[in-house]
Symmetry: C3
Subunit: 280 residues, 3 copies
């Protein structure tokens, strides 16, 4: 074992010889840390958590109790000796009960709620949050600053661009004629908002700055600036007409009206865009 | 440690010196009990459960395996030394996999299903049941004899009065123009019934003795005695006209037709009201 | 303890004397195995899992970390000494975080996702899969080759015949006038498909070869070959007219178009029926 200074490892934790720890690492009671695990500086792992082989965790990341990080997938149980690696970036907060499979890449400042499940072969950007009991099924591509709230289901092959909000109990599907082998993932573009309980049918494209109303069952593509609602969902408004009911002011596109924890916090979207040289 | 008579603590449990145990307390294998925890008489904590600091648990409460009771919140990870306390009353049954945060007050005769999550700063009355995988997001006020069935989502700032039934996969929201900082909790009045899969939009008020039909998407306030259904929900009946399909008898207001585990069990609602001097 | 050859038991696992192990059994760190448990040959139990008393697990079954197998039910906490037994067949793959109660019978080749919950007194056939966070409430009858995807709710007294597909976030209810004591389970016949987010009302019968569209709220019985959609659900097509959008070919009844992991894989449904002498 290679270990930095000031590490605090519980006496009854089970730790493989081949792990590498930075400075100030804390490992709680009843943890199991398997071989070829690397933990950065200031990493905290709370009690009862298992970190599987070939996992790399960045500095300042904190992992709650009873998590499984780098979970086995089917190959393991079939006796196939794969060398899949899970990378989790810096400054993550992974809450208790979360299960993350091997063979995914997760950026910096990641967060999960409790009992979240993230399957294999997913690519997740920076500043992404995955809520309590949300189930990301693997082989998904997720941009930066995406927030999945509680209990969202994301089918394999979904693609979610940056700055997207997905609220509780949203279901994102992928099979147009279930059961079949013909999977067609949903694509959600930047700045879209999917409100609670909405259901997105396979293969649809949700364009930028659109709003899927709570409980909408979306059966076809949604254009930019559209608000759709109902079952099946129909366009009910242009998003630029939607007002905040309390203040009476325009509420959308939200990127001009909301900035908490966004890269344009305190300076506004336009100035941030200009300064960052980024493009939508 | 202060401990009563006949306690049964597993040899490998990790127990802080500062805890206080009543009589006949059982603590299972692999448990971790942190400092300033007080457990009443006859408390049972099954294996692998963590009880965080400053938790107070009443007599006769039983906690299943792999729970986290008094879970840390963000402050903890940010190094802020708060002294939040979780109180759980007498005679609770907290089933395995449940996570309850610190800084909530929970009454007597509480129950949870499995993998339930209850966040911080909630006030929960007596005889409340929170089903499997239900997610109560914190800062909620919940009365007595409320039953949340499986997999209900309850947004922050929701208010649920006493004698309310909330069935599986109900979603209770709080943000009228997501994403925003303008949260408006739903209010559900006594004796209301929210059937499976219903979705309640932010800020609406569900009046007493109403019935939200299964799958309804409720976008505006619901009056007393109303039955609403559909997406968006519309009034389809007066609840006093709804019959039990088998017996042909009136089924609502349910408080006159159902009494299992209610305080009027065996004596009827009217007599109980009269005797208890309570008012609706 | 009776144990076969080549068993590999973690030093800190807690194991009752009365258990019986086949050959090549592996028991991970921090496991608790209670009395009267029998594990077949090649069984693997990963770390932190609890196997309760009177559980019988068949050969080649693999159980992930942090599961509870043979969970106590209310009787236990009330001090009643029941002798309920859980039987799990051969070659199961029970993924981490799953909770299965005592007093159920589960066939061979069973699978679960993560955090699944299966309550007591259920009868589950062979080749059944129960997805991540799916909640089967007990006293259900489930045939062979049934697939519950993620986060499905199945009320007590439901009956699901063989070769049925139930996709994510489906809710199956059982109380026509909630709250009541008059439970009426849903019945789903063979070869039916319940797409994502659908909601089935109490007591309805879903006939063979029907398709419940995503998000449908089904309030009455569904006939063979029907496709129903909407809230409330209405018949929108005959299933035999539904085409695969990519290939333009018929997609249903799916048993003629899909065979992965089905007993007719590679030979076609008709030939399999003829050879097996089975009847629909």
């Amino acid at each position: 074992m290679i270990r930095g200074i000031n590490c605090n490892i519980a006496a009854n934790a089970v730790i493989a010889d081949s792990i590498e720890l930075g400075d100030n690492v804390t490992i709680g009671y009843n943890c199991v840390i398997e071989h070829n695990v690397t933990l950065g500086d200031n990493v905290i792992i709370e009690c009862g958590t298992v970190v599987r082989e070939n996992t790399l965790i960045g500095n300042d990341t904190r992992i709650g109790a009873n998590c499984i990080i780098g979970e086995h997938f089917m190959d393991y149980y079939n006796g196939i000796n794969t060398q899949y690696c899970l990378n989790i970036g810096k400054n993550a907060l992974i809450r208790s009960g979360t299960i993350i499979y091997g063979a995914s890449d997760i950026g910096d400042n990641f967060q999960t709620g409790h009992h979240a499940v993230i399957r294999e072969h997913s690519k997740i950007g920076n500043h992404v949050s995955v809520g309590t009991m949300t189930d990301i099924q693997g082989t998904c591509e997720i941009g930066d600053y995406v927030r999945f709230h509680s209990n969202v289901f994301v089918a394999p092959n979904s693609k979610v661009d940056s700055y997207v909000w997905i609220f509780p109990h949203v279901t994102i599907t992928n099979d147009p004629t279930p059961p079949s082998k013909d999977m067609r993932g949903v694509s959600i573009k930047s700045y879209a908002v999917i409100a609670a309980g909405a259901l997105l049918l396979p293969g649809i494209v949700i364009e930028e700055d659109s709003l899927i109303a709570a409980g909408a069952v979306v059966t076809k593509d949604v254009e930019q600036f559209s608000v759709v609602a109902g079952n099946p969902a129909k366009k009910i408004a242009d998003i630029r007409e939607v007002k905040n009911k309390v203040t009476g002011e325009s509420a959308y596109p939200w990127r001009y009206h909301f900035d908490r924890a966004m890269p344009w916090e305190g300076i506004g979207f336009d100035r941030w865009m200009k300064e960052s040289g980024d493009s939508i």
